[in-house]
Amino acid sequence: MTTVYLVDDHRLFLAGVRSELEGAVEIVGSAFDVDDAIEGIRETAPEVVLVDVHMPGGGGLAVIENVAETNPDVRFLALSVSDAAEDVIAMIRAGARGYVTKSITPEELIESISRVKAGDAVFSPRLAGFVLDAFADTMSAPLDPELDQLTPREKEVLRQIARGYSYKQVARRLSISVKTVETHVSAVLRKLQLSNRHELARWASHRRIV
């Protein structure tokens, strides 16, 4: 069973997630704040950390950055009520393998966790929308075409995700395998993390919540 660590400063929400996940994953620990989380994750070395974006003391970003230094194998899935693009993109760029909103169903969450554990990326419709927006063609010439642009196929996959389809449905609709869908979204995630395009930061800070 996948070992999971939970970080959220809202105890009620944490308790809810815990009961939803019980049985499907092995919850090795949880924390309500940044410092406890860093310590606890280093101690328990879980496979996947579910981390809230907004927390006092630096938020999920501080947790990811600190743990990544000592435990590069730990994988993060950001889970938040926040839809602010700059927060989401900052988490992804810090190393989170995906972002889902708290309105996600338990089944989807469990599937997302196993996907993150396998090293794949998890894109919610909203995150896909952010990425399509950020990498829109209207921007100036890219510095590094390899990293600063999405391929037509990657865009098509993201569009399907933004329209609310699961990876499996996307695969069927585009007549490709689920594995290929995963390859595409992982490539997009890598571009998000490595892309140098300065517009990305600027875009994120200008983007408002819908």
Binding site: V81, D83, A84, S103, P125, R126, A128, G129, F130, L132, D133, A136, D137, T138, R159, A162, R163, G164, Y165, Q169, R208, I209, V210
Partner: protein
């Protein structure tokens, strides 16, 4: 004052800093002796703890004996320098000392509420303040009048009287007025804070608390979910979008309100994702109307748990997809009375130079794709 020497001495002896400054000032009149002492003390500050000059620090309070001793030392020092002969003259120094210390007494308002200053002069309850004030006024008036009659008789008496009155008044009421103004400022910012709190409380009461109460009374989990989602969205807008955008008729804003309305009417969660910038005004209305119709259809007939809307604005066109994963239908099978799709969606889009494609599969769900090309002026 310059190097914090007075403050340091005050902290060390417990004598209020105004008196120490006054002493330096008086000694300074003796051909600069005070200045010399001040600099000497500054050079030797290794021994004297200097403190920040802040008026309301809880400094140690010297007792009567310390004050008396310090006053004696100052007096002895003055008499000493007088006998040595470093002396600007009796008619200048004694009244000057009286003026300086009289002012010091009045400036020393430790622990006194500014608005009680005037009442404290007549109120028998507050002894120390009253004594200080009376002694201060007496010293000040005596010093000024001696100074006025003996030291500078050549200056016009009228001018002098005006000057003396002015100085006297400003010394008497200056600190009080200053404090009063300060207090008023603090009071005003406190009131602004309170108003903000009240506004926030009112808002939370009208929105969040009402919704929470409603949720507690709701049996239907679907309705609960809708209420919670609506409230979340509204609160988020209130928190983060303080200033409403100038173009309130923009596509994303209008779509959001349409989504909110349909969520409320049909108790179904709708995910709205928008990528891309602004759209020409004449395209917004038909797009929003057709999207609303497609959403209403999905909510009414699909039986899906949720509906997704994705809008993509590119330089060439605006695309809207409304997708549900409900029961779906055979597209050719739609009855004639279901005019919603053919009129409101397909017809409307055609009239505005766009298109609408409905695809559906039984058991898989339905997707409506709206598209309007943008006219490119380039």
């Amino acid at each position: 004052m310059v190097a914090g020497i007075s403050g340091g001495l005050s902290a060390a002896t417990g004598i209020a800093v105004v008196y120490i400054r006054a002493a330096f000032l008086v000694l300074g009149l003796v051909w600069g002796l005070g200045v010399v002492l001040y600099v000497a003390a500054w050079a030797a500050t290794i021994d004297i703890p200097t403190v920040e000059e802040s008026g309301d620090e809880p400094a140690p309070q010297a007792d009567r004996q310390t004050h008396l001793g310090a006053a004696m030392i100052l007096l002895a020092a003055l008499i000493l320098v007088r006998s040595i002969g470093i002396w600007p003259g009796d008619g200048v120094l004694w009244p000057a000392a009286a003026i300086v210390f009289g002012s010091a007494f009045l400036l020393d308002q430790r622990g006194i509420d500014s608005r009680d200053f005037l009442t404290s002069l007549v109120d028998p309850g507050d002894n120390s303040m009253r004594r200080r004030s009376i002694v201060g006024v007496v010293l000040l008036v005596a010093g000024l009048s001696i100074f006025g009659t003996s030291a500078v008789p050549q200056i016009g008496t009228t001018l002098l009287a005006v000057l003396i009155t002015g100085v006297g008044l400003s010394v008497l009421f200056g600190p009080w007025i200053w404090r009063l103004a300060n207090d008023l400022g603090a009071e005003r910012s406190e009131r602004v804070r309170q108003e903000e709190r009240a506004e926030m409380a009112a808002h939370l009461h009208d929105s969040v608390l009402q919704t929470l109460a409603l949720i507690q009374r709701t049996e239907d989990p679907k309705r609960m979910l809708t209420l919670a989602r609506q409230q979340e969205r509204e609160l988020r807008r209130w928190l983060y979008d303080r200033a409403p955008e100038a173009g309130t008729g923009s596509l994303s804003v209008l779509l959001q309100s349409t989504v909110d309305r349909i969520e409320a009417d049909f108790d179904i969660p709708i995910d709205l994702v928008v990528a891309g910038g602004e759209v020409e005004e004449d395209l917004v209305i038909p797009l929003v109307a057709a999207t609303g119709e497609a959403l209403a259809n999905a909510a009414k007939h699909s039986g899906a748990a949720k509906v997704s809307v994705y809008v993509e604005v590119s330089p060439e066109a605006v695309d809207v997809w409304v997708a549900d994963q409900g029961k779906g239908f055979l597209v050719g099978d739609v009855n004639g009375d279901r005019r919603g799709i053919s009129d409101s969606i397909v017809g409307r889009m055609r009239r505005h130079g766009g298109s609408a494609v409905v695809s559906s599969e039984v058991g898989e769900g339905t997707e409506v794709h709206l598209r309007i090309e943008r006219e490119r002026t380039s």
